[in-house]
């Protein structure tokens, strides 16, 4: 038990910081506990500034545009998209994989870094987990719209029905995907909520209005900070972290299997599962960086999300970027090595064919741009990180586009070759997904504590030693 407690609070380190090799303070400014409470909860108790209203006006407009485009799709049909018989998956599935990938960082930061005792996670895990939830929500909309008749989406679940003995096909990767994404969403939500309960109790105690107090009383489940509850809470948190770690890996693995179980050259590659997971971590951390750099600036949280936090994340981005680059190289090499003419053609077509611009955009953004993170100066300068993280986001979107579209548009039969270009409706839905994501995130920053106050207080003592 003692050890779990060490892990959660980092308190073990207070006795002997050198043992774990972290003796730098995690939070700047030598803060007291009540100062942390006041500063973390301040955004939820003030009226939002004008900047926030401007931001949410923009993101809500984007969301409305997306909603209009979805309405067009549903009323006029999938024909409003640029898909054709050869390229049956394009923008929609690209966006789906893109958002699922972004949704990986939150749980990764919460669970894996927790298990590895990387205590710098405490300042960013709450926001990153929220980001995960919003990203998975964005991701989930795309396959559902793509169904054409989304009101029948429940057909993908195994439920007793009156169509005779009829069950979903458990051998289909698309069904695995349904299961994986929904499980991931539910467990991430649970994990996020469990982590939120102590802070909800603090917020409840600070609430001024009766309504706010009642709502927070309901959601904080009567939390009173009792040690017996803390003890169980730590156990549950540890167990959830242990469960989420393989879960987060499994989700993108299963997404990759949507492609890799097929026999399409360029899709069927055994490296896809780990390669997709690495790519997801890569893009997810880039998105966390993008958001955190804005949030810490706008909300004056620089002392909580320090440049050391940013630097640690850039190292993860660099490492996963290298893995992704290695996977590109492996695929190319193996296509040549295998001698399979279809495989060879697909990869040559990626690099030299009509979508070569997308391919080189992907290589440039994903493999070349992270190389700047070798320099310490870049790793510790927020605006440089911000620019590079945007590049990584773009590159990872193009990676999915390249994998999906270039593999499909040159089929086995030259007679069925086709090109793909997105329609305005598709682009609008994509913009709308960003609108949804940022709108939810902006609301989150004003409604709930963006930083896990109870966890930050736990690592605060480190600063005093």
């Amino acid at each position: 038990m003692a050890h779990d407690a060490d892990v959660l609070t980092g308190a073990a380190l207070s006795g002997n910081p050198e043992q774990y090799g972290h003796n730098l303070p995690l939070i700047d400014g030598n803060k007291s506990y009540s100062q942390v409470t006041a500063e973390v909860f301040a955004p939820t108790e003030r009226r939002p500034p004008a900047l926030w209203w401007i931001a949410i006006a923009i993101t809500f407009s984007m969301l409305s545009l997306g909603a209009w485009a979805v309405f067009q799709t549903l009323t006029r049909g999938i024909g409003t998209w640029g898909l054709n018989r050869t390229v049956g998956w394009a923008f929609d599935i690209t966006n789906f994989v893109f958002w699922v990938g972004i949704g990986h960082a939150g749980t990764l930061i919460s669970a894996i870094l927790f298990l590895f005792r990387q205590r710098w996670r405490t300042s960013i895990n709450r926001a990153a987990e929220a980001m995960t939830l919003f990203a998975v929500m964005c991701a989930g909309t795309f396959p559902i719209i793509h169904m054409g008749r989304p009101w029948l989406a429940f057909w993908a679940t195994p439920y007793p029905n009156s169509r005779g003995p009829l069950w979903v096909n458990f051998k289909s990767p698309l069904l695995w995907d349904v299961m994986a994404i929904s499980t991931y969403f539910i467990i991430s939500l649970t994990f996020w909520y469990i982590g939120l309960i102590p802070d909800l109790a603090t917020q409840r105690d600070r609430a001024k209005t009766k309504l706010k107090r009642t709502v927070l009383s309901i959601f904080s489940l009567g939390w009173n900070g009792s040690n017996r509850t803390w003890s169980r809470y730590e156990t549950v948190y540890m167990l959830l972290a242990g469960l989420s770690t393989p879960l987060v890996v499994s989700v993108h693995t299963i997404v990759s299997m949507d492609f890799a179980t097929s026999v399409i050259p360029g899709w069927h590659a055994t490296i896809f599962p780990p390669y997709f997971v690495a790519g997801a971590v890569f893009s997810g951390f880039a998105m966390v960086l993008t958001l955190m750099i804005i949030a810490r600036k706008v909300m004056n949280l620089e002392e909580y999300i320090t440049t050391r936090h940013l630097e640690a994340m850039t190292k993860v981005v660099l490492a996963t970027g290298m893995i992704v680059g290695l996977a590109y190289a492996t695929e190319f090499f193996t296509a040549w090595y295998s001698g399979n003419p279809y495989e060879r053609y697909v990869f040559l077509n990626r690099a030299l064919g009509p979508f070569a611009w997308a391919y080189w955009m992907m290589v440039g953004c994903n493999v070349l741009s992270p190389q700047f993170f070798w320099f310490r100066k870049v790793r510790t300068t927020p605006w440089m990180i911000f620019i590079l993280s945007i590049f990584v986001n773009i590159g990872m979107w193009f990676e999915r586009f390249v994998i999906i579209v270039t593999s499909l548009h040159r089929d086995y039969l030259p007679s069925s070759w086709a090109m793909y270009r997105p329609t305005f409706i598709e682009v609008a839905i994509f913009i709308g997904s960003f609108g949804l994501f940022f709108t939810l995130f902006l609301i989150f920053t004003r409604v709930l504590p963006m930083i896990a106050a109870s966890e930050v207080k736990g690592v605060l003592k480190n600063a005093e030693h």
Binding site: D6, A12, E18, L115, A260, A269, P273, P274, T330, T334
Partner: protein
């Protein structure tokens, strides 16, 4: 850390446990015997059944290289993440890289047996319509040129890392590229028609798991002979968690490869797997899963088990056997061409050679590192 959470230290003066140097002296003779006997058995195997002899030599060389790389990789990870908690208890990984030159020599010996092992090295391979296109990459001079280059890179980067403690990131870069090539070249090309992009990652998962198992054994043995005053339960727990995590990682990579090949069922891709799923091999296929994932998973699931030295030792022993079997199953089916698996003199020889060479190469470095006269770092 409260005293209750540490493993008690044995009083050396009372129990009369020999010092590390004594153990080393005693093992020295045995190790030489193992090496000589192993070499003889392998040579005998070459005479009796050339394929099995060469295949076991390949297995031995590859696994020794993997042990060395496992040590280096741990060292690099430690250096990059600044995980200094492991310093007091992990010792063996500094000694393991000493095996790389030995493995390189054994690997070069294969030049004499390439034609037995590798279909593309046989005379007439260029007439084979399928192999013909691959000979630009798979031909004997280029192949052994790459062997030399790869080992040179490993030994160079490894020395830099182990002796000067520099270049961890550079090592990982070099390692990633060369280890992929090594796996593709040495193991995957045994069945040259086959290719699997995940193959090198699969090799890495087994290699790293073995590395952790070896350092865990060494940490526990060092504690038992009293060279580490006390290993806290937390540190045992960390080792247990690492073993658990990477055993699961191995299973994940295994499943990724197996499931995708099984699902797509492409004729040119199923070759080695189909051999494994045939009657004489299939028990070994399941045994491999059991040793590398099933048993460690069950043994280490509980928190209590992860802190128990006995359980850790047992798990590591299982994992080492599992690693050998895993390599055996990667090498043998294509070499034996559908014949039943066999365990006999060449296999025994290969194992003896690994054990003996491992001891002889690593022990001096190890001794230097854990010199008992040195001031011991305190674990607690």
């Amino acid at each position: 850390m409260s005293p209750s959470s540490t493993v008690p230290v044995r009083d050396l003066t009372k129990t009369g446990i020999p010092t590390l140097a004594d153990i080393g002296d005693r093992l020295q003779g045995g190790a030489w015997t193992f090496v000589i006997l192993g070499g003889l058995l392998l040579a005998l195997g070459l005479v009796l059944q050339a394929e099995r002899g060469w295949a076991n030599l390949l297995l031995t060389a590859f696994n020794l290289a993997c042990v060395g790389l496992g040590g280096l990789f741990l060292l690099a990870i430690q250096s990059i993440t600044g995980a200094r908690w492991s310093d007091p208890i992990l010792k063996a990984h500094r000694a393991m890289p000493a095996l790389l030159p030995v493995a390189g020599v054994l690997m070069l010996l294969l030049a004499y047996g390439a034609a037995v092992l590798y279909p593309w090295a046989r005379p007439g391979a260029d007439l084979d319509p399928v192999l013909h296109g691959r000979l630009a990459w798979l031909n004997t001079p280029f192949f052994f040129g790459r062997v030399i280059l790869i080992f040179a890179a490993w030994i160079w980067a490894g020395r830099r890392l182990a002796r000067q403690g520099r270049g961890a990131a550079a090592f990982i870069l070099i390692f990633a590229l060369t280890f992929c090539l090594a796996n593709f070249d040495w193991l995957m090309s045994l069945e040259p028609i086959w290719s699997s992009t995940i193959f090198a990652i699969y090799g890495f998962s087994g290699m790293f798991l073995q590395g952790i198992a070896i350092v865990t054994i060494s940490a526990i043995v060092l504690r038992r002979v009293g060279l580490i005053p006390a290993v806290s339960k937390a540190q045992n727990h960390d080792l247990g968690k690492l073993l658990f995590a990477f055993s699961s990682f191995w299973a994940y990579i295994f499943l990724s490869q197996f499931l995708l090949i099984w699902y797509a069922n492409l004729p040119e891709e199923t070759g080695p797997l189909r051999l494994l799923l045939q009657a004489p091999w299939v028990p070994l296929f399941y045994l491999n899963l059991l040793l590398n994932f099933g048993l460690p998973f069950v043994l280490l699931l509980q928190r209590k088990a992860k802190t128990s030295e006995t359980v850790l030792l047992a798990t590591c022993a299982i994992l080492l056997v599992g690693r050998w079997l895993d390599l055996y199953l990667q090498i043998m089916p294509p070499v034996l061409r559908g014949a039943a698996p066999a365990f006999g003199l060449p296999e025994l020889g290969g194992i003896l050679l690994q054990l003996g060479a491992g001891h002889l190469a690593c022990w001096p470095v190890f001794m230097k590192d854990v010199n008992p006269s040195q001031e011991l770092p305190q674990a607690d």
